[in-house]
Symmetry: C2
Subunit: 223 residues, 2 copies
């Protein structure tokens, strides 16, 4: 499969320029790239974040087709821009840079990118984000970290969603934590039940802390 890999690397080198410019442009705004399987709860996470976050945020939604996720977030009064990739399995930085033109970045504290539902390809692309977040839902099974290691190595938080389904699915939580830790000793693992909202406060606190750190860093740079 060397062809695909080689080609992606050259496209990615080109994309790094865009990622660099995006990172510069974001200033004091925290940018978070959310990656997980189809249906792991990415949009529901953002809906619940909208209800509880003390900060303002906008969302770039990546989907092959439909604007359903953007409509769900617009109903929560979140500024959302939908990108339809028309078959492409991930978002790329040049597309994000174009999308930024349509968003009022100055009015928000955080910009989330909800990537295309996929544990593989989105992990390989730098969108200019501050960090990536991996989302796994309990019905997917505890073997996912070792099967898709690159995402877990790359992510600065791992979200385990649908913990309300633990009584009904086979999911070895100890193995999951151990395997995540073996790939990534530091990033927090946050358990979420997005129906009751359990865990959302922990997630929001984590983001608030990262936002403060980013602002402090940006202020130091500008003085």
């Amino acid at each position: 499969m060397s062809e695909i890999v080689t080609i992606q690397q050259s496209v990615m080198a080109e994309d790094e320029k865009y990622a660099f410019r995006i990172r510069k442009r974001m200033g004091r705004t925290l940018m978070v790239n959310i990656i997980g399987s189809p249906g792991c709860g990415k949009t529901t996470l953002l809906e619940e974040t909208a209800s509880r976050a003390p900060f303002l945020f906008a969302v770039i939604e990546g989907d092959l087709e439909t604007s359903r996720d953007a409509e769900r977030l617009a109903a929560k009064n979140v500024e959302t821009l939908q990108i339809n990739t028309k078959g492409c399995c991930h978002l790329e930085a040049h597309v994000i840079e174009k999308a930024l033109e349509s968003l009022s970045l100055d009015a928000v504290d955080v910009l989330f990118v909800e990537n295309v539902g996929n544990l593989v390809c989105p992990a390989e692309f730098d969108l200019g984000e501050d960090f990536k977040v991996a989302v796994v839902s309990t019905p997917e099974g505890a073997d996912k970290p070792l099967k898709y290691p690159f995402l877990f190595v790359q992510s600065e938080a791992v979200l385990l969603t649908k913990v309300d389904l633990l009584p009904y699915v086979r999911f070895d939580k100890e193995m999951f934590s151990r395997d995540v830790r073996s790939l990534n000793p530091k990033s927090p693992i946050i358990e979420l039940d997005l129906i009751s909202g359990a865990g959302v406060d922990t997630w929001v606190s984590f983001l608030s802390r990262r936002l403060e750190e980013k602002r402090a860093h940006a202020d130091r740079q500008s003085t």
Copy 2:
């Protein structure tokens, strides 16, 4: 994102030669390419198929990393070959052709390919299979067909797994069926509970019928 698309097309044109050779080589053996999200139940489906099928089969397992799925199937006395794609998000025909050298095809009626867990990229690659099968699990949500339409257009059976979780998840079954039908009016939608085994007989019957058709077709070709 035109770069990626253009390049993939040229790799795919090259791969079509391999797919053509594989199709020829398979003879009377039915080859089925199984595609679904990480954790939707692909390996469990094959474990259950092993317990109930009246035909013999082998499996090519595609994963980025680990040989866990192959080990699970080997425990069911299924001949299995694990391919680790090391970061590649789908299997390609040239890799399958190489894998066939290590399998005793003459000894089996059906060859399953369990593709890398991903609803996007694997749908675009012809591996020389007789047909593709789309697998979706109920916790993923009923919006997946319209969000990942290409897979559903391409597939000759749609498997809805984890129906035992329907009481605990938000899943609009009517919408799911309607959306699958809008993309693909003909392919059967088979509901499966792989813990109790409900639906596995319907799946096995479907495969047996397709195997009979393939053999009848091969016999007509050779006379």
